[in-house]
């Protein structure tokens, strides 16, 4: 399907549930690019979590705010940038580190496992430096064949 680089964009409201539509659309792309089914599942889960973060945190669940996904694909790489309107900024580049023991003991929120999961599921991920007038931009990339845990540069 993709001989050279191509860009697909998906824009939707900040309401929980829409991440399911995004994962279908992007999952189809990844499958057609030849990623194996296990990695397509990984990507679908990672994307859902990134969308939920953008909906809940970045856009504070204000339905009329938009989530914007830009998907750039080339022969061996799929890059997603998930942007919100930045009503609340992600505090830093840090990724949640609470352990399950802390969560079970009630010491840490049982929520917020999203970023930790994404990190384990894709080859690269991280927030892009913020630009004036823009919200949070979270980037994740997957290579075919895999290239685990590289650096997150655009």
């Amino acid at each position: 399907m993709a001989q050279t680089q191509a860009t697909i964009e998906l824009i939707f409201p900040s309401q929980l549930g829409y991440e399911k539509i995004a994962r279908e659309a992007i999952g189809t792309l990844a499958r057609n690019m030849g990623f194996d089914p296990t990695r397509v599942e990984d990507l679908r889960t990672a994307l859902s979590e990134a969308c939920i973060n953008a909906i809940e945190h970045g856009n504070q669940r204000q339905t009329q705010r938009r989530i914007h996904i830009t998907c750039t694909i080339s022969r061996n790489r799929l890059v997603l940038v998930i942007s919100d309107e930045g009503l609340r900024f992600h505090p830093s580049q840090e990724i949640e580190t609470a352990t399950i023991e802390q969560k079970l003991a009630g010491l840490a929120s049982a929520r917020g496992m999203g970023l930790m999961l994404i990190e384990q599921l894709v080859d690269e991920c991280g927030f892009l430096p913020s630009r004036p007038g823009q919200g949070n931009r979270f980037r994740l990339a997957m290579y075919n064949p895999p290239r685990r845990h590289g650096s997150a540069t655009a």
Binding site: T45, I100, E101, L104, S109, A110, G112, M116
Partner: protein, 128 residues
């Protein structure tokens, strides 16, 4: 839009309570899952299986609900197993560490067999 995309039912098999989940396990599932767990606990359940009927969508908010159930199970000294997850979600459950607190089985039958072993062990006199 339809957000209620999960059906939760409970049933009993040889002293083991099974909570069947059919559909999406997300933030919207909290009341249904917690309610079903509280229901079987009130009926005196000691052995509980949460059986996902091949849910295609489980997210971190859904996992958080299950962590909440695990917390209660530990407090009540119950035994919990999870079955019916696709290989992908079995992996996700291992990643978040849930697998250390609830045994995870591919099928309901395997979960039942494991629970029966626990029942048997509990009914035998403790060996010193």
């Amino acid at each position: 839009m339809i957000d209620d995309e999960l059906k939760v039912t409970t049933r009993q098999r040889d002293g083991i309570w099974i909570i069947d989940l059919e559909g999406d396990v997300t933030t919207f599932a909290e009341e249904a899952i917690t309610g079903a767990y509280e229901g079987v606990s009130k009926d005196g359940a000691k052995y509980i299986i949460i059986n996902s009927r091949q849910s295609d969508y489980i997210n971190s908010a859904g996992i958080a609900i299950l962590i909440g159930v695990v917390t209660e199970v530990n407090r009540q000294a119950q035994k919990l197993a999870i079955s019916g997850l696709s290989p992908h979600f079995q992996k996700i459950f291992r990643m978040v560490g849930l697998a250390q607190y609830a045994d995870i089985f591919a099928t309901e039958e395997e979960a039942i067999a494991a629970m029966q072993r626990h029942q048997k062990a509990a009914s035998e006199p403790t060996k010193q």
